[in-house]
């Protein structure tokens, strides 16, 4: 279980996060939504032990983040803009880059790991680009490579910061299905930051609505989206959610 206890963060005299209290159960699929500058990325960076909160604490299975992450498999997908895509690396290099014991200039990765990486690339329909260089990839391909890298570890906790920004509509649907498979098969706890409120409301167990404060943390079916959207984004915003007979969902399925 992940526990956010009274998390507050003040940066340059500005309140970024204000007294966040929430819990995420093991194997739960949670999405954090909110407008730009709401503190979504900051909150997951605190969860990953990358930023220290001004007050409060995060506990993962009773341990501070850094201690838990050093002992367990945790995968993190940072925002695309924070990744150095100009490096002279191939897609397969990215799959192995976290494995610092076997990946390097005088080191050889083992065949088992390479085979596993190939299977994962195949799962994301990108095995054909395993030898392509990063400079040759489109935004969507980069995002798929990053998702494949994250799942290669078989993580117990998977934290994804806007993983679907560059994905096309068809693969966006497929990504959610792969994540659901992962959750069911390995009981992976998934935390996903997204602006795609319509899609997340269809797939996740819980939505955390954040805008400096935590406005709600509940199952999608229990959330009054109209009211919530007005609180988060203003009264003029209208969001169309996917319904049971949604035409675009039917379109995804036929694809």
């Amino acid at each position: 279980m992940i526990e956010f206890k009274n998390i507050s963060l003040v940066y340059d005299k500005k309140i970024v996060l204000d007294n966040i209290n929430a819990t995420i159960s093991k194997g739960e699929f949670v999405s954090i939504i909110g407008p730009n500058g709401a503190g979504k990325t900051t909150l997951i960076k605190i969860l990953m032990g990358l930023i220290k909160p001004t007050s409060g604490s995060v506990l993962i299975e009773g341990l501070p983040p850094n201690e838990y992450i050093s002992k367990h498999k945790v995968s993190y997908l940072p925002q695309q803009t924070n990744i150095n895509w100009s490096m002279p690396l191939r897609v397969m290099d990215i799959m192995l880059i976290e494995n610092t014991k076997t990946f390097g200039i005088f080191k050889k990765p083992n065949k088992e790991l390479i085979e596993k990486a190939k299977k994962m690339l195949d799962r994301f329909d990108i095995l054909d680009i395993e030898n392509k260089y990063l400079k040759e990839l489109s935004g969507g391909q980069k995002q798929r490579v990053e998702l494949a890298r994250c799942l290669l570890k078989n993580p117990q906790i998977l934290v994804l910061d806007e993983p679907n920004t560059a994905l096309d509509a068809v693969f966006n649907e497929k990504m959610y299905n792969i994540l659901l498979e992962e959750k069911q098969k390995n009981k992976t706890t998934i935390i996903l930051v997204s602006h795609d409120i319509g899609a997340v409301s269809k797939f996740v167990d819980k939505i955390m609505c954040l805008n400096v404060k935590l406005h709600c943390a509940d199952k999608p079916e229990h959330i009054d989206f109209k009211k919530l959207i007005a609180v988060l984004y203003g009264n003029d915003t209208n969001i169309v959610l996917h319904s049971a007979g949604c035409e675009s969902c039917q379109f995804y399925k036929t694809q």
Binding site: K45, M48, G49, L50, I69, S70, V74, Y76, P78, N82, I83, N84, S86, M87, P88, L89, R90, D93, I94, I97, E98, T100, K101, F103, G104, I105, F106, K107, Y133
Partner: protein
């Protein structure tokens, strides 16, 4: 008379070649990370801090490398701390660059007869390379290769994404400071060969040439080393024959190699289309 018949000249050239090859190999590998981490201007900041250290040496008539190394390491550390604390890389480098240059100029103005040495200091002088420099260069090459063979994958991950590196248990701040300090030491030893003003060329041009002719990281580094060693060897002989500053000659040769590698890259792209 052939230069090989003059033992003094042969000795000077051998010293320059050995030190030059060792340092160019190291600087080529370091340039891979300098360019990819967009620290291109860093060499300028660190090398100019050596000016202050060398000026103190001249003032007190010392020949030790410890003062320039100390100045370079301290500058690298301060640049690193300022950057990690939120100042932009360029601003941090600029602040330290102008301060150490000004300090060096003031100290030199109190020293008598400094002008004779200033050209060598600024643009490189192979005659200034002595046996101790060679020993330092060889030790540094082995130490550098050992460290890079162990920590290459860590530096690669840090360059790809610092947050990912932190999550994988790498102390990114420590790695960054150690990288800057090691770079500072290599730069101090390279100053006699290349000069304060031009040493930064060795931190940028190798990787740029390597990236023009190769695409995988291992080949980029391999070709960076080849380009560096070729330009160092040819420029040392050219500088002797033409009586030109060694650093300036190395940079001119390197610049020509960069142009050729760039043309090769354009031809490759054009043939692919």
């Amino acid at each position: 008379m052939s230069i090989l018949q003059n033992p003094i000249i042969v000795s000077v050239l051998i010293k320059a070649l050995v030190a030059g090859i060792c340092l160019s190999i190291l600087l080529s590998i370091l340039s891979y990370f300098v360019v990819l981490q967009r620290l291109n201007f860093l060499g300028v900041g660190i090398s100019h801090s050596v000016f202050a250290g060398l000026a103190i040496n001249y003032f007190f008539a010392l020949s030790t490398l410890f003062i320039p190394i100390g100045f370079a390491c301290l500058t690298a550390l301060i640049i690193g701390i300022l950057y990690r604390k939120g100042l932009s890389k360029d601003s941090a480098i600029n602040v330290m660059f102008v301060f150490t240059m000004a300090l060096g100029a003031i100290v030199l103005s109190f020293s008598s007869g400094y002008s004779a040495n200033i050209m060598g200091m600024l643009f490189g002088d192979i005659l200034a390379i002595n046996s101790i420099d060679i020993v330092y260069s060889i030790i540094l090459l082995f130490l550098g290769l050992l460290l890079l063979s162990v920590f290459f994958s860590h530096l690669q991950l840090i360059t790809f994404n610092e947050e990912l590196a932190k999550i994988n248990g790498i102390n990114v701040d420590l790695a960054y400071y150690l990288f800057l300090m090691f770079l500072a030491i290599v730069i101090v030893l390279s100053v006699k060969l290349i000069g304060i003003i031009l040493v930064n060329a060795f931190l940028v041009l190798p990787a740029l040439c390597g990236m023009n002719v190769a695409r995988s990281y291992a080949k980029v580094i391999f070709w960076s080393i080849i380009f560096s060693v070729i330009s160092t060897i040819s420029a040392i002989f050219l500088s002797y024959y033409l009586n030109t500053p060694s650093g300036a000659t190395i940079v001119i040769v390197f610049f020509i190699l960069w142009l050729i590698s760039g043309m090769y890259n354009k031809i490759l792209k054009w043939r692919k289309q």
